[in-house]
Symmetry: C2
Subunit: 557 residues, 2 copies
Amino acid sequence: MNDLRTKIMEIAKRRGIFWKAYEIYGGLAGFYDYGPVGSALKNNILNLWREIFVISDSLIEIDSPNLGPEIMYIASGHADKFTDYMVKCQKCGHAFRADELLKDHIPDAEGLDADRLWKELQAHQIKCPDCGGDLTYPERFHLMFPTTVGLGKKAFLRPETAQGIFVNFPILYRLNREKLPLGVAQVGKGFRNEISPRQGLLRLREFNMAEIELFIDPEENFELDSFGEVKIPIKTRDGSESVLTAEEIAKRGIARPEIAYYMAKTLKFLKTLGIPENKIRFRQHHHNELAHYSQDTWDCEINLSLGWTEVIGISYRGDYDLKRHMDFSARDMTAIRRFKEPKKIKVKKVRPRMEILGPMFKSKAKKVAELLEKKEPSPAGIEVELDRKRMLITPEAYDIVDEEITVGGERFIPHVIEPSFGIDRILYAVLEFAYYERPETGYKVLRFPPKIAPIKAAVFPLMTKDGLDGIARDIKVKICGNGIPCYYDDSGSIGRRYARADEIGVPFCITVDYQTREDNTVTLRERDSAQQKRIPISALTSVLKSLVEGTKSFDDL
Amino acid sequence: MNDLRTKIMEIAKRRGIFWKAYEIYGGLAGFYDYGPVGSALKNNILNLWREIFVISDSLIEIDSPNLGPEIMYIASGHADKFTDYMVKCQKCGHAFRADELLKDHIPDAEGLDADRLWKELQAHQIKCPDCGGDLTYPERFHLMFPTTVGLGKKAFLRPETAQGIFVNFPILYRLNREKLPLGVAQVGKGFRNEISPRQGLLRLREFNMAEIELFIDPEENFELDSFGEVKIPIKTRDGSESVLTAEEIAKRGIARPEIAYYMAKTLKFLKTLGIPENKIRFRQHHHNELAHYSQDTWDCEINLSLGWTEVIGISYRGDYDLKRHMDFSARDMTAIRRFKEPKKIKVKKVRPRMEILGPMFKSKAKKVAELLEKKEPSPAGIEVELDRKRMLITPEAYDIVDEEITVGGERFIPHVIEPSFGIDRILYAVLEFAYYERPETGYKVLRFPPKIAPIKAAVFPLMTKDGLDGIARDIKVKICGNGIPCYYDDSGSIGRRYARADEIGVPFCITVDYQTREDNTVTLRERDSAQQKRIPISALTSVLKSLVEGTKSFDDL
C-alpha cells in the first residue's frame, strides 16, 4: 500500500469515513463499512449525480431487487460468461486473478484465454505473491453470488443494476408514453465475488453503483446541445491520446454521440467533485477486453496514487440485452418507430377464387375464402381449419397478388447506451484529491468541495462561559434547522477544534467570542485558506447556503 | 385479495409506483420493483424518517454491507434460531408457514412448537389452501439466504441491518467520544427467505428497512422531554387496551421509557405520513412470540384493509447482542460508566513477603515480587513466568491483603433499544389511506400529504398556442430549478391532465391561460379540494415551498 493510501485508510478509520467490515471477526475481504462521515459523503456524491445526470435530463429512476432469478442471468449471458480466470497457489492455497498477476508485465492481460494466460504466467515466471509457491493452470471462476429462493429456486445477487431495468423495458416504455430516447437510472448495490480483492474501496465484492440505461433508436440523431463544446481527453483503442470536443468525437465517428455526451457530462461531474481535469481520461476498450454484451466501451479513468484507475464505464450495448430477454421470455421488447409521413408499402396477399371454392365447399365457400385471406401467401397450398378439421387448399383455388397498404410506423428493438458509475471508487478518488497536509503544522485536511462536504459547518464558543456557549448552541440549532448539516464543539482549544473539523472536511467554522455579545457578529473561518471574516449572526444561514451552493465565494463576503 | 388492495395494485402498476419484479419471466415471489413514482415516494418517506428520528436526535447513520460472515450470525443466534415452521402439501408440493395457516383459528400461533402446531393443524382440519391436499408434519425452515464468499467462506444476506451496527460498537462508541446514549441508524435492505410470500409489499423476501440501535446505560434515567405528553394507544400482553401518555407508560413500568419515547415519535411519524391516529396501536408481544434476542417487543400495528398489520417493531434487546459478540470475538464491547464522584472500593491484593522471596530467588527476588503484585490473589499459590520459565509461587511467599483503591468508573455492556421500521409496509399503508375516489366521477386520487408526494406540482398550458406553452415550460423549469419536483403536460383536456396528476398524488396543478399573458398570474389548483386560486408567477415557487413544507395552507393564500 502506498503512502497516500495508508494515510487515507488511517484518517478514514479514525474519523468514521470507512473501515474494513467485520473487523472483530477478522474481516471479510472485499467488504467495507461506511461510517457517519462516509455515508453522508456517499449520499452527497449520489445527490450530485442525480442532479447532473437524472434530474437535468428528466430521466426516470427505478429501484429493483438485488436478488434475481437464474433465468434472467442465463438470458443476459452472465450465468455463462461472467467469469474471471483464477490461479491457485499449490503451496498456500491462496487464489488470484490470473490477469491481475500479469498486469505489470503485459498491457492487455484482461482479455486473454486460459492457454494464453498460462503461457504468459510461465514466460514471466510468476509465482504466488504471498508465499512464492507454484501456481495452477488458470480455471474459470464464476463471479456472481448464488443463493436459493423459496425451496429451491436458484437466484443470484446482481452483478449490475442494469438487468433490473432491461426486464422492465415494456413497463418503462409505456410509462414514458412510448417515446424514445428513454433514460432510466438506478442507484444501488452490485455484487461480484472477486477472486482476491485487496485494494480497499477500489475492488469490493459488494459495491455501490449508479447506472443509466439510455434506450435509443439507433437511426435517430442525438443532440449534444451545449455539451458538444466540452473538450475531452481520450485514449483510443490504438493507443493514441488526444483532446477533442464531444462534437468532434461524434462527428469523426470515434464514438457514438451518446457516448461523447456522457463523456462530457462525466467530466463535469468529476470536476465538481474536486477531481483535477488533468487527472481524468477516457480509454477505449480493446476488442478482447469488451464485456460479452458490449460493442464499444470507454472507461473513464482517474490517475490515482496507484496509477490510472477505472471508475466509470460507458458502454454501447447495442440491442444485445433486449433481444436476449425477448428471446428468453417471448415478450415483446420492441419500440415503435413512427414515420413522419405514413408509408405505402407493397405486400403479397391471398385472393380466393370463388369460381373454384364455390363448387368445392358449397355453403361453406364464403367462410373458407375469409380464412384464406388472413393467411400468409404460399404457392404450395395453404392450410385452413374449418369446423375443427384441418385441410389443405390447393393453389388453383387462389391467386397471390401484390397489394399496397399504408403503415404509420414499424417496430424495432431499441439500442442501449450505458454509463455505469462505481461510486465507491469515485468516493475514494475524491478522498485522494481532497487530502492535504498543512505545511506549517502537518495537520491533515480533507478539502472537499463545500457542496459535497458531509458536514458544512461547525460552531464553537471561544469559552464555555459568559453565555458564549448558549449563543453558539442557538446558532447551531438555527443552522441545522435550515437543513445545513452542522455540529457544536466546545472541547479543547479553538485550534484543536479547527483541526478536528479540518480532518472531516468541514468547510466553514463559526466562532462565538466576546465581540459577539456586543455586536451580534461571529467569525467565519474558511477551511482551505484558514482566513476569517466577521459576519452578522442574522446573515449566517443565507451566507452559508450561498457558499455551499457556490453562488458566492468566501472572497465575495 | 380484497377490493382496496386490488385497486391499489392496479393503479400502482399502471402509474409506475410498484409492480411484481421479473414479470416477463413469470415473477419471483416476494420481490417487487419500485417505479419512478414509488421510488420517489420511498425516498421521501425515508427523508421524513431521518428528519424525525435521526437528525432531530443527533443520531449517527452508518452503512454496512448486505452480506455478512457466518460467524457473525452464529454469534447473533440467527444461524440457529432464525427459522419458521413449514408444512408442505403432500399432493401439490406447495409450502406454507404453519402458523400462518392457523392465524384465523387461534390467536398466538406464532410462538408454538412443532408438536403443538401439528396438533392444532389437525384439530382445525387444515388442508392445503391451494389444492386441499394433506399437509406434512411441521419442520423448521431457515430464513436467511446463504451464499459463499471467495472460494468457500459461508456468508448470509442480512435478515436485519442491526448486526452491522452491533459489530461496530467499539468504533462507534469511540466516534461518539465514549458517551451514552449512543443512537446509530441504518437504512438499507433486509432479506428473509419467507416460506410463502403472497401479500404484495406486506411480506417481501427482499425489503427496505430503517433501524435504530440505541445503546444505553440501563441504570441511567431517560428523558422523554416533550414526547412524555403524547397519548399512545396500547394493547398489552394480557389483551387489555388503553390510551396512556408516554410518561404514564414509562412510570407505571408498562414499558421502558425509551420504548415509550419511540412509541410517541413513531406516532408523530405515521400521522405526518397521513395515517389516521385511530388506525394505529402498539401491541406488546406475548412471551412465546418474542424473538430470541428480545426481552420485550411492541409492534406498531396499522389497521389496514386486511386487518391490524405490524409495520414497526420496538424491541428491548438488553445486552444480548453485544454480550454474544463479545463472547464470540473476544473483543471488548463494554462502555464506561463514569462515577459522579470517584469511588473508593476494597480489593484483594497480593503483598509479596520479601523475607521468603529473598533467600529463594536472590538477585531475582525483586523481579518476582513485581510479577506477583500484578497477579490475581489466590490462596492456592500463584503462577509467574520468569526468564521464559513458569513456576508456582507457594502461598507462604505472599500475603493476601485488603486494599482500598479509588476508581473513576466501571465498565459494563450497554443495553439496546431497537425501533425497526418496515418501509415497504409503511409505504403500502400510506397508499391505502391516500387512496380516494371522487364521488362525482369515480376518478382515482392519491391524497399524499404534500411533504411526501413524489411530484409536488404539474404545469399545464390551457392551449399549446399563443405562447401559453412557452410560458408553461418556463414556469416548469423555474420550479424544478428550485428543487421542487415538477412536470409539464400539454396532452389532452385540462380535466384529463388534472385526473392524471391526481392519480399519482400531485398536490398542486398550475394552469397557464390567456389571463396569464395579461397579468402574469396562473391558476393554482389544490388536489383534495379541487379549488383554484390565482397566483402571480413571481410568487409561485415560494408559495409552493410553504405549501409543501406545511408552513402555509391553501386556505391562507
